[in-house]
């Protein structure tokens, strides 16, 4: 099934049409002065900033052709598209604290939230609703931190044209076991989406947010420039997972920050399955002491997919820890770029920071690029990074063969063993099982 773009071209200009921003402002339907002015200045910034060049360090090894051609996408109009089955397909888990379903950035069903949590002051709603209902709270966090890893132009475009997203606020001392789940569906062909997530955990709060990024059908073409910002107050323990599974005609950006105050345990994980090209920037900013910030990713590109990930672990305060593990398994003619940096500032003594990138090459045509960097300005630190690129160990395969397990099965077991290191960090049995299924599906399709 194909969803053609409606309304017509004339009232829905493309990104290269000069009227696109005015049109967006006119039909946004949110009249909040600080947001309007933020959007206006973001639009001018978008127009001013140059397009990335290959010679730019932050775009080294990146494929820029698709990015140069994004002008013909059209921002989605803000009305709910007619796509049957979306809400039913958004019932992946039974044990949830809340559920939110957006189709082309419009609410597809009423937001679900556990009434007990609502009483405790938990806010889980769309960003559009939060801007209207809790303008001060949103303003306090909105775009206060940015990744600064190369996509400043696309971040400006995101702010200028964003209309919706996910807002989760967990007040001080509220601890929640069951995850909040949000679904973002891309629907209309040629549509450009700018979903924005704000996940705020107060002092000593604990909560988990899982975001699914999906396409209603495989054939439609999309541009997605998503942002997600995680704010962990003192002692908070947020867990944030994004399962990126846009369709294979999608160019996607994911621009994230994880902001940790004192004594937090902050965990974020990216599972990358979809998109023909995904550019992701994740900046972990450690403002407080005694925090433990974990950043994980599992990437399984296939065909001609390209996953381009740039990460930064910024240690601003002393005595914190950060750990990053990004694992790629590359099939067919896929490409990966991992560019990671740890910065330890002058005052961040007694930092422990680790960064690991593993690339498992499963095809003779796959290409992995790894740029693991360190910038250390304090001396009393424990810092290391490691990068490995290799294939399945033949001696381990031999071990399986000697026990009568055929080669193909042995390889499959080895690859799933390789993924398991990340899957087990997900802390949620339903999610882990779902990811295992998706991985098997991607491998055996």
């Amino acid at each position: 099934m194909m969803i053609t773009s409606e309304p017509t071209t004339t009232d829905n200009p493309s990104l290269e049409d000069p009227r696109v921003f005015q049109q967006h402002q006119d039909n946004l339907g949110i009249d909040v002065p600080w947001l309007t002015s933020a959007k206006q200045s973001a639009w001018s910034r978008y127009l001013e900033l140059p397009s990335p060049l290959r010679t730019d360090e932050k775009w080294r090894f990146a494929n820029l052709n698709r990015i140069r051609e994004m002008g013909d996408f059209r921002p989605v109009p803000g009305t709910t598209p007619e796509v049957p089955g979306i809400v039913e397909r958004s019932r992946r888990f039974n044990e949830v604290s809340g559920r939110l379903v957006l189709a082309d950035e419009a609410l597809a069903a009423a937001v679900e939230l556990d009434p007990d949590l609502r009483k405790q002051g938990v806010i889980f709603t769309t960003l559009a609703d939060a801007i209207v209902q809790h303008p001060d709270l949103v303003q306090r966090y909105f775009m206060q931190q940015t990744p600064e890893l190369g996509s400043e132009k696309f971040e400006a475009l995101h702010v200028a044209l964003l209309r919706n997203g996910t807002f989760l606020y967990v007040p001080d001392d509220v601890e929640i076991d069951r995850p909040f789940v949000s679904y973002n569906w891309s629907c209309r062909d040629g549509g450009a989406l700018f979903p924005h997530t704000l996940f705020i955990t107060g002092r000593n709060a604990r909560a988990s947010l899982i975001e699914f990024q999906e396409a209603a059908t495989e054939e439609t073409r999309h541009l997605v420039v998503a942002n997600a910002h995680l704010y962990a107050g003192d002692g908070a323990r947020p867990v944030h997972t994004i399962v990126q599974n846009w369709n294979l005609n999608t160019l996607s950006f994911q621009l994230n920050t994880n902001n940790a105050q004192e004594e937090t345990v902050t965990k974020s994980t990216l599972i990358n399955l979809g998109s023909i090209q995904a550019r992701q920037e994740i900046h972990g900013k450690i403002f407080g002491s005694g925090s433990n910030v974990e950043m994980y990713a599992l990437n399984v590109p296939r065909g001609r997919q390209e996953f381009d990930q740039r990460t930064l672990q910024s240690h601003i305060a002393p005595r914190s820890r950060s750990d990053l593990l990004f694992k790629n398994a590359l099939m067919e003619s896929s490409r990966s770029i991992f560019s990671g940096l740890i910065i330890v500032e002058e005052d961040a003594q007694q930092t422990d920071a680790y960064q690991t990138n593993n690339n498992l090459m499963l095809s003779d045509k796959a290409e992995a690029n790894s740029l693991p960097g360190l910038e250390i300005k304090a001396n009393d630190v424990k810092c290391s990074h490691g990068a490995t690129t290799g294939r399945i160990d033949e001696s381990e395969i031999f071990y399986f063969l000697a026990r009568g397990i055929p080669r193909s099965k042995a390889q499959e077991l080895m690859v799933f063993g390789y993924f398991e290191e990340i899957v087990q960090k997900l802390d949620n049995a339903e999610l882990a099982e779902y990811i295992r299924e998706r991985l098997v599906h991607k491998f055996t399709d």
């Binding site: 002058e346 250390i376 304090a378 990074h385 490995t388 690129t389």
Partner: protein
């Protein structure tokens, strides 16, 4: 913790300056006339003059690479540099024939003494040209050529031209283009098939004049199955104004040859040391760079090996010591272009006071090759709380037949280590030196004996007073 060491005793060995008169002086600044002057006094063929002029254009067109490199590069004023200074273009074969003002310099640096003790040949370059060049007679009889680049171009154009600019093209980077435009001096070495040169050949580079730019050009060709070790040392007096050293070194190891290139860089702290060094290793050949950087204001140097033939091997072993006001931006490039090639990079850096050391590396297995291996280890030691280190590797692998591993770590000398040694009556300074020597010891062992002793002493002295 933050008191900064201020002793640079060992650097003072080269910090003296005798007044010298020059017969040939290309003046200050760089333009086409500078190049004509250099080509004229050297009596070069037209193709060399054209090569230089083409390079000048490329140098001018290329931007200063500050989008990834240090902004300090913007402080080089190319109009204030003197590009060619010499007493003549023909080096002496005996020290007696070397003019006194130049000879005194090299004697004070101990070069003739070292030659007698353990070297197979020596070339001593004073500003733009070699003033002394000699090699043991038995090596000449075996067909080994060891001369300056000026002489190499003149006497052996058929060998020289075949490889000149082939490993490092003019436009490789802005500074290789600059060198290609105004190069003078450096060594030309050819080792015939099967000849194994047992003792090292040594070149010594001396910058004597203020505001001078030294642009030596070295080409070493080890023919099939041959072996040779080349060592270079360098010093300059400490001037108030900055000095530029920008060399291009090309190595060619033909089938089965082994080539080892050792550098102990101890330029004074006003020298910009921007050097391009690369080797090409054919089938089963081996190229090993041993690189030690102690001096200079800013060093940018990433020795590389292009493994062109199956079974070729490349290695870079590197030690960098960055003191206050110094930035050692060093690393390695390993380009795997054939099956079964392997490379190894071990880099250790020590940052003292506000010194900054940077590792920058490239490992590239761009085509779907079989059984290629790379191992990279870079370890950084930070001595003071305001010391700085960076690591920027870039690794590209295509295909599922090769393996690459990269590891890096940053550490400091632990208080427990120092305390333990002090408990046993070792003074704090000495304990610090021992700890630092322990950090680099396994690498220093790879250096030839004479060098490892000198290096250990250098590091002891550099560490003096660094505990605070």
């Amino acid at each position: 913790m933050s008191s900064t060491p201020d002793l640079n005793i060992e650097r003072d060995v080269g910090n003296f300056h005798y007044d010298t008169s020059y017969e040939f002086d290309a003046g200050t600044g760089l333009n086409e006339q500078t190049i004509d002057y250099i080509a004229d006094v050297k009596g070069e063929d037209d193709w060399v003059r054209e090569f230089r002029k083409k390079a000048l254009k490329i140098f001018r067109d290329k931007p200063v690479p500050t989008h990834w490199a240090s902004k300090d590069l913007e402080n080089i004023d190319y109009d204030k540099i003197r590009y060619y200074l010499s007493k003549g273009q023909r080096p002496s074969r005996t020290w007696d024939e070397v003019p006194d003002d130049v000879k005194n310099t090299f004697e004070r640096l101990g070069i003739p003494e070292k030659e007698r003790a353990y070297l197979a040949g020596v070339e001593a370059q004073f500003d733009s040209e070699a003033s002394y060049s000699n090699m043991k007679e038995e090596l000449s009889k075996q067909g080994v050529i060891f001369v300056g680049s000026t002489e190499g171009l003149r006497e052996y154009p058929e060998i020289f031209r075949k490889w000149f600019g082939k490993v490092i093209p003019i436009g490789d980077n802005k500074f290789s283009a600059l060198n290609s435009a105004v190069f003078s001096g450096g060594s030309f070495i050819y080792v015939p098939p099967g000849v194994k040169v047992k003792q090292p050949l040594q070149a010594y580079f001396r910058i004597n004049a203020e505001n001078f730019g030294q642009f030596e050009r070295t080409l070493i060709i080890a023919d099939e199955g041959s072996e040779v070790t080349y060592m270079e040392g360098c010093t300059a007096p400490q001037f108030e104004t900055s000095t530029l050293h920008s060399a291009v070194v090309e190595l060619v190891a033909l089938k089965g040859a082994k080539l080892q290139y050792i550098t102990v860089q101890n330029w004074s702290a006003n020298v910009f040391n921007l050097v391009t060094k690369r080797g090409m290793a054919m089938d089963d050949a081996e190229i090993k760079w041993i690189d030690c950087n102690i001096g200079s204001r800013l060093t940018m140097k990433y020795p590389g090996v292009v493994m062109r033939g199956p079974g070729a091997r490349g290695e870079v072993l590197s030690i960098a010591l960055a003191h206050d006001g110094q930035h050692q931006d060093t690393g390695a490039k390993m380009i795997h272009a054939a099956d079964n090639t392997s490379s190894n990079i071990i880099s250790k850096s020590i940052s003292i006071g506000q010194g900054r050391s940077t590792y920058r590396g490239i490992v590239n297995m761009p085509r779907s090759l079989k059984s290629c291996k790379n191992n990279t280890e870079c370890d950084a030691l930070l001595i003071n709380s305001n010391s700085r280190t960076d690591t920027y590797p870039a690794i590209t692998v295509r295909g599922n037949q090769s393996t690459v591993q990269h590891e890096a770590s940053v550490s400091k000398v632990s208080a427990e280590q120092i305390f333990y040694m002090m408990q046993r009556g070792i003074p704090e300074d000495e304990a610090m030196s021992l700890a630092v020597n322990g950090f680099v010891n396994d690498l220093i062992r790879e250096f030839p004996m004479e060098y490892s002793v000198e290096l250990k002493r250098l590091i002891d002295l550099e560490m003096e007073g660094s505990v605070g």
